[in-house]
């Protein structure tokens, strides 16, 4: 109809389904032939990720072309819906000043059908999918390169890469998903591979337990996914089938959710069910406890799965099916909604917990949880684009932080993650790691001009803009806390005096068990020092065994590479290039990725390329459409038109709403045509709005630094000798003097009365109550199982069966005396029965 003129497509867009397919194939190749390959299969994994990255990049380029083709060439036109048929026929248009709805590139193939229900596989490529595809392939590639060094010599090197590749494939399948079934497929593949990867060093029971817990917790959420999908399917089915699609299609679901006929109750239950899945997967309160435990996995795994990809799957689901949540949970309609509340709680809780961690990876894990809370909250307050943008920036800097942590343990702290025991002062030994860490930390904390600033601040800003004042403050407090705990971690790791392993020491003195293992490992290492090939299982296992002595923490990456070329005696040093290069790339991105959508400097590419326009498409009878009508003739009524019942909230913001929306996509379904996304407004960027957050960040960082210096600066470190104290020089001396009143203030006032009790209490609550509930749920389920089995199954049900047998047998026993063996009695019985029978029957018959 109008379509032909506008949208461009291209080979990369049309064939985006190849992106997950390549790693899937690679997985089987690695599994089948990996062990026989010179690099143990890692080359296949890396190559596949590279190929996917290239495809994703190509698709991204073409998508941008496509978006621009709309904006450039089809002013005022309205498209017809053609997308369902699976071709990429362009059909959207834009009206007035708003962005047009850019028809996603959808292709699908029937997977199977039965009983009138069709399951399809395919691709649904829009800005969101493209963005995540790019991030996932990119991060995966870097992590795989990093891993070649990090897990070198591991006894299951090949399996590791196979699982890593499959993981990426799963994520990509999910991202591309055209239907909910495909979404579930990818989602579950990720769940499985995360189980394998977290439990990679399963010789240690703690690791496999963590893997189990991760999978199980996520699986609890998956229940919601299954149920939610079912609810949504049947809700949307009729609407979708009338338009030649089916109720699994993500596009159809989106359209249905915003249509007039959608049953709000169905939507609500569907959204709640799906959100439960998100809570599980994205580590939101109260199902967040699996995430820190999952740090038991190798660091690259943590970096890939638990920072930048898998855990954002939940956020992605909300973003993907935003119309469902938007309408179902009344986002923007009421002052409070489930998504925002959970997100907000998560931000604060997780940030508080990050304070009291000694394990560097756990700090990062809680930080991830907290950041996911930001994303969730962003989605909950209607800040779709900033939230999605935060996915983007967070992926880079959090990945970088994890890899840096890995780098530290790999080369700096002798496979320990304990900041207090084995780190400190590492900046001197590991400059690259330090630099990238610092950059990423700044990004994470939201220091201006680093990427996190642009995304996180936008979320906070939009919360305020959309009238969610409470969440605005939550965001601000969260920002301050983030700055504070990251400063603490940074200080402990890179500043101060080297301690423990970082000081080149070993634990012989204080940990005999560990020492034994260490020696064992060392023996092995010395024995095989000059053997070139890393596949020395024995050494690896020896190291593993040695590690059993470590009682603390969950994450000990010292498995499996007893002789990876560096001398354990040599103390901390910088990591090899395969670790540092990814770090540097990511560090660079941590700085610059934010500028893609930095209103401060005038870029709004995300809004342009990624955000789907909340406009009505397919109102066929009138080219200018009802939407234009609303916009042009009744500007005053805009807010109520767009947000329906949201008027009170948005009244203040009237007129501020900028460039998208305006087509009546919101709670009131369009009478004509279809909406695929709710119309959203963006807060206009003003520097003044960022001031509170910048100040708070600064406040948090400085307070924390001050406290850190006070506490950890130089006092009673058991490993510190006099020489080291002398080397402190002037600056150190000043701290020494200052510490007295700092100590008093900090320990007596703040620590003992405020900070510690609160954080500790939070941690206690977390470990004992929330985690206790999660674990307890598991345990009590098992107990229930045992009880039911023992009492109901074995006693009642089975007992009834056996008892009936016994009754039969005992009746037989009771009847045996009748057979007395005496003829007279037999005769009496015979005649007695005859007589009774005769009497009764005579009475009956005569």
């Amino acid at each position: 109809m109008f379509a032909t003129e506008a949208l461009t497509s291209g080979w990369f867009l049309e064939n985006a389904w190849l992106i997950p397919l390549i790693p899937t194939v690679a997985f089987f190749v690695i599994l089948g032939f990996g062990k026989r390959m010179p690099q143990g299969g890692s080359e296949v994994g890396i190559a596949s990720m590279m190929a996917s990255l290239v495809l994703a990049a190509g698709a991204t380029y073409q998508w941008i072309q496509r978006v621009q083709s709309v904006e450039g060439g089809s002013e005022g036109a309205l498209g017809a819906i053609r997308g369902f048929a699976g071709s990429a026929l362009p059909s959207a248009a834009e009206t007035g000043h708003s962005a047009a709805y850019v028809e996603p590139v959808i292709r699908h193939w029937t997977w199977w059908q039965s009983g009138g229900i069709e399951f399809t596989l395919g691709q649904h490529i829009d800005g969101l999918a493209i963005m995540v595809l790019l991030v996932v392939t990119f991060i995966s590639l870097l992590v795989q390169v990093y891993s070649t060094e990090y897990v070198k010599g591991d006894r299951r090197y090949t399996h590791f890469f196979a699982a890593l590749t499959l993981f990426s494939a799963g994520m990509l399948i999910m991202v591309l998903a055209e239907s909910m079934v495909q979404f579930i497929l990818g989602w579950e593949i990720m769940g499985l591979t995360s189980f394998l990867l977290i439990g990679h060093w399963w010789e240690d029971g703690a690791n496999s337990r963590a893997a189990l817990k991760a999978f199980f917790t996520v699986r609890v959420g998956d229940m919601g996914l299954l149920v939610g999908t079912a609810i949504i399917y049947f809700g949307a089915s009729q609407w979708a089938q009338a338009r030649g699609s089916n109720g699994f299609s993500i596009q159809a679901i989106s359209g249905w959710a915003l249509s007039e006929g959608a049953d709000s109750k169905v939507l609500m239950w569907g959204a709640v069910a799906l959100f439960i899945a998100c809570i599980g997967k994205s580590g939101q309160f109260p199902l967040h406890t699996w995430l820190p435990d999952a740090m038991a996995g190798p660091t690259p795994v943590s970096s890939l799965l638990h920072s930048s990809t898998m855990v954002v799957a939940g956020v992605y689901l909300v973003a993907r099916l935003y119309p469902v949540f938007f309408v179902g949970l009344d986002i923007l309609d009421t002052g409070v909604n489930l998504v925002a509340v959970i997100g907000g709680i998560t931000i604060i809780i997780a940030a508080a917990l990050a304070f009291v961690q000694n394990d560097i990876k756990k700090v990062l894990a809680y930080s991830t949880v907290s950041q996911l809370g930001y994303m969730m909250m962003g989605l909950g307050v209607g800040a779709w684009t900033p939230a999605v943008f935060h996915i983007f920036t967070h992926a880079f800097f959090k990945c970088c932080l994890f890899l840096a942590a890995g780098s530290i343990s790999h080369s700096g702290s002798h496979h320990s993650f304990d900041m207090k025991k084995d780190m400190g002062g590492l900046r001197k030994f590991m400059p690259i790691t330090f630099a990238t860490w610092m950059v990423s930390t700044f990004a994470l904390c939201g220091v201006p001009f680093f990427s996190g600033f642009f995304s996180k601040d936008e979320i906070i800003d939009n919360a305020n803009h959309n009238g969610y004042t409470v969440f605005f403050y939550v965001g601000l407090i969260g920002a301050a806390m983030t700055a504070a705990y990251m400063t603490r971690a940074t200080y402990l790791t890179f500043f101060g005096q080297p301690r423990g392993a970082a000081a080149g020491e070993h634990h012989d003195a204080h940990d005999p068990a560990h020492a034994h293992g260490e020696e064992h490992a060392l023996d092995e290492i010395e024995e095989h020092e000059h053997v070139a090939e890393p596949v020395l299982v024995g050494a690896a296992v020896a190291a593993t065994q040695g590690d059993d002595g470590h009682g603390h923490g969950g994450g000990h990456d010292d498995h499996g590479h007893g002789d990876d070329g560096h001398d354990a005696h040599a103390g901390p040093h910088e990591s090899p290039w395969r670790i540092t290069v990814p770090l540097m790339i990511l560090g660079t991105l941590a700085v610059f990725s934010g500028y893609l959508n930095a209103p401060a400097v005038g870029t709004e590419y995300f809004t342009e390329w990624v955000e789907p326009a909340g406009v009505v498409v397919g109102a066929e009878h009138d080219e200018s459409g009802a939407a234009t009508h609303t916009d042009t003739e009744e500007p005053e009524a805009f807010a109520s038109g767009v947000f329906g019942r949201a008027t009170p909230l948005l009244a203040a913001e009237d007129g501020e709403a900028t460039h998208s929306g305006g087509e009546g996509c919101g709670f009131e379904g369009p009478t004509e045509g279809v909406c695929y996304a709710p119309a959203l407004s963006h807060a206009e960027f003003k520097w003044i709005n960022t001031v509170p957050s910048i100040l708070l960040v600064a406040f948090g960082a400085l307070t924390s630094l001050w406290l850190c210096l006070g506490i950890f600066g130089d006092r009673k470190n058991p490993f510190k000798g006099l020489t080291q104290r002398n080397r402190l020089a002037g600056a150190g001396h000043r701290f020494l003097v200052n510490k007295y009143y700092l100590d008093d203030l900090y320990e007596k006032v703040i620590v003992h009365s405020v900070a510690h009790p609160i954080a500790k209490a939070a941690y206690w609550v977390n470990q004992n109550i929330i985690d206790g509930v999660v674990n307890g749920a598991g345990r009590s389920t098992k107990r229930t199982g045992e009880w039911v089995y023992r009492n109901i199954d074995q006693r009642v049900v089975d007992g009834a069966v056996n008892a009936s047998g016994l009754v039969a047998s005992e009746t037989g026993h009771a009847l045996q005396p009748v057979q007395s063996g005496k003829v007279n009695q037999y005769g009496a019985l015979l005649f007695g029965a005859a007589a009774v029978g005769a009497i009764v029957l005579v009475l009956l018959n005569v």
């Binding site: 045996q816 005396p817 057979q819 007395s820 063996g821 005496k822 003829v823 007279n824 005769g827 009496a828 005649f831």
Partner: protein, 99 residues
């Protein structure tokens, strides 16, 4: 009127016979009791034959008498056999098999 008397007599004999079978421990006495039952049947049959003016009852009675003779023959043989083996014909001792 007559017939009823016959039938009552027969029923009485039958009951005595049944009592004997149930109550007597001596095998020979039990045999006798059974003979009593059979004779009460005969009495019945003959009485009915007269009442119905029908010859079938008489014939039936003859058959019963003949068969009863055979039965008693077998029965006495068995009692003898038991006596040989056990030196007793008390029936309540014959309870090796039960249950």
């Amino acid at each position: 009127m007559y017939a009823v008397n016959f039938l009552l007599l027969s029923a009485a004999l039958f009951c005595i016979g049944v009592f004997g079978v149930i109550a007597r421990r001596n095998a020979v006495m039990v045999l006798m009791s059974i003979e009593l039952i059979l004779n009460s049947v005969n009495l019945n049959l003959v009485a009915f034959a007269l009442m119905n003016n029908d010859v079938d009852g008489h014939i039936f009675a003859l058959f019963v008498i003949a068969v009863a003779a055979a039965e008693v023959g077998v029965g006495l043989a068995m009692v003898l056999m038991i006596y040989r083996n056990r030196r007793s014909i008390a029936l309540d001792e014959l309870s090796e098999m039960k249950g």
